[in-house]
Symmetry: C2
Subunit: 246 residues, 2 copies
DNA sequence: TTTGTACAATTGTGATCACATTTTAAGCAG
DNA sequence: CTGCTTAAAATGTGATCACAATTGTACAAA
């Protein structure tokens, strides 16, 4: 944990042969996905470089990559900020999460082994204990590891990178959603998921995944949202269509 | 069109206030998506910089971004190449395309206007004339514009960037698939799509989209594939799961 | 207190250089 | 012609500098 005005950034352990740029990218990605950045927060190259003790070069490449993934936004003045989600966009992201994660789970179903199921049960136990301890970070990460482990069972899971991209885009709201979770948490949907896996039941799996997603963040669409407009949301716009008509 | 050993790269027109990096990114992305690069082809920073007449800096950022999107692959020796798709992976990408594009089309359905439908008909006419002229580039781009226009009808189409990411990943095979298209082309699926739009029929829309995708590239999975193994395909692997078990 | 202006600091971008590693080419022996 | 060694060229990465544009701040005028 590093102290800096407004930026809360962990230094991740180095992987051998890893470039500095890759390391910075992982650190920033981890921070965003676990909800450590606030919406509308500005990220500057030199500041991050100072915190992570590298030159500006690796940082700017990492920021550009995250911008491409929709995790960050470049404003018109070229400043890089954490995007603010408008409700309509968040709603679309959640619908897409339901679609993609159901798809990935059902695709992984044929590859689920008994060992993997017991492993998922372990992961779920850990997350439940994190929940009891009100360890928000543990809840967020535990939930991601659970889902990632499930979808990764498929040997060619091309869907997983896209799902993680959605997690990234919703990331800045994650801390808020987890803080509000106890109000909406009624049933352990992960158990439903595991049950569906045990019975090789694709329909039950799909509905359990959907319920898990909606109960964890779906309620955010109805209120609670920072409604600050973002001038540079990378939205596919009607202007594009109009320009084609001309 | 620029002459260079093995690299066929158009210079796109500049957009006002566009950074050099963004311009290079668009040019490379366009080239990949329209199938101008061969699988396994190496792309070097200095060579591209020379062709586009910019310094190395914008090029490396653009290449990094495309790597993040799965459009390019970094080999273990850090060289950047156009990835070679193994059949299993291509098959997964096609399934995901069907899923995502059906989803995007149905989501766009409520926003379809009469003008948009007539515009889609125009686009389809253009593509058909490109087909008669055996203009491969025109077929590829026309098909993408048709689909992009349809999905963009939704004002918050968060799905479109992901769909384009899939097009990017399949890009290197596009030229091959279009060249083989006449053998498999039997019916104008775009007309089916437009009909479904006119009747506000989501089920017909979904099946038309699916048929369109499968008939355009689906047959590639059965043969024709360069089966050269790629040592660094960014596959979510079982090793990850195993390492979690440990 | 509020408003306006000039100056200083900060920002992202692009270019260039140094360096370790890898690839290619050349040279030579068999 | 083949196989091996060695030198030269090329490559990606990281650091640093210059520059235009933006932002922040201090100070003066109302």
């Amino acid at each position: 944990m590093t102290a800096a005005p407004g930026i809360n950034l962990d230094k991740l352990g180095n992987i051998e042969n890893e470039t500095a740029q890759e390391w910075v990218y992982r650190a920033l990605r981890f921070a965003i996905m676990s909800g450590q950045f606030q919406p509308n927060q500005a990220l500057t190259i030199r500041q991050i470089a100072g915190i992570l003790n590298v030159s500006a070069m690796p940082v700017r490449e990492a920021l550009k990559r995250l911008t491409t993934e929709g995790a960050l936004t470049i404003k018109s003045n070229r400043r890089i900020i954490v995007p603010t989600l408008i409700p309509a966009r968040l709603s679309e992201l959640i619908e897409l999460r339901v679609e993609l994660e159901s798809f990935a789970a059902i695709r992984a179903l044929p590859y689920i082994s008994a060992e993997l199921i017991s492993h998922l049960e372990d992961l779920n136990d850990k997350q439940n204990s994190a929940f009891e301890k009100r360890d928000f970070q543990g809840i967020i990460l535990g939930n991601q590891i659970f889902h990632r482990t499930l979808y990764s069972a498929h040997p060619h899971a091309v869907t997983l990178p896209m799902i993680e991209q959605l997690w990234l885009q919703i990331g800045p709201l994650h801390r808020l959603s987890v803080a509000k979770l106890p109000e909406h948490y009624t049933h352990d949907r992960h158990c439903d998921i595991i049950d569906a896996l045990k019975h090789h039941n694709p329909f039950g799996l799909k509905s359990a995944i959907e319920a898990d997603i909606r109960e964890s963040i779906g309620f955010l669409t109805e209120s609670d949202l920072l409604t600050g407009q973002d001038e540079n949301l990378p939205l596919p716009n009607k202007d594009y269509v109009k320009s084609l008509k001309k």
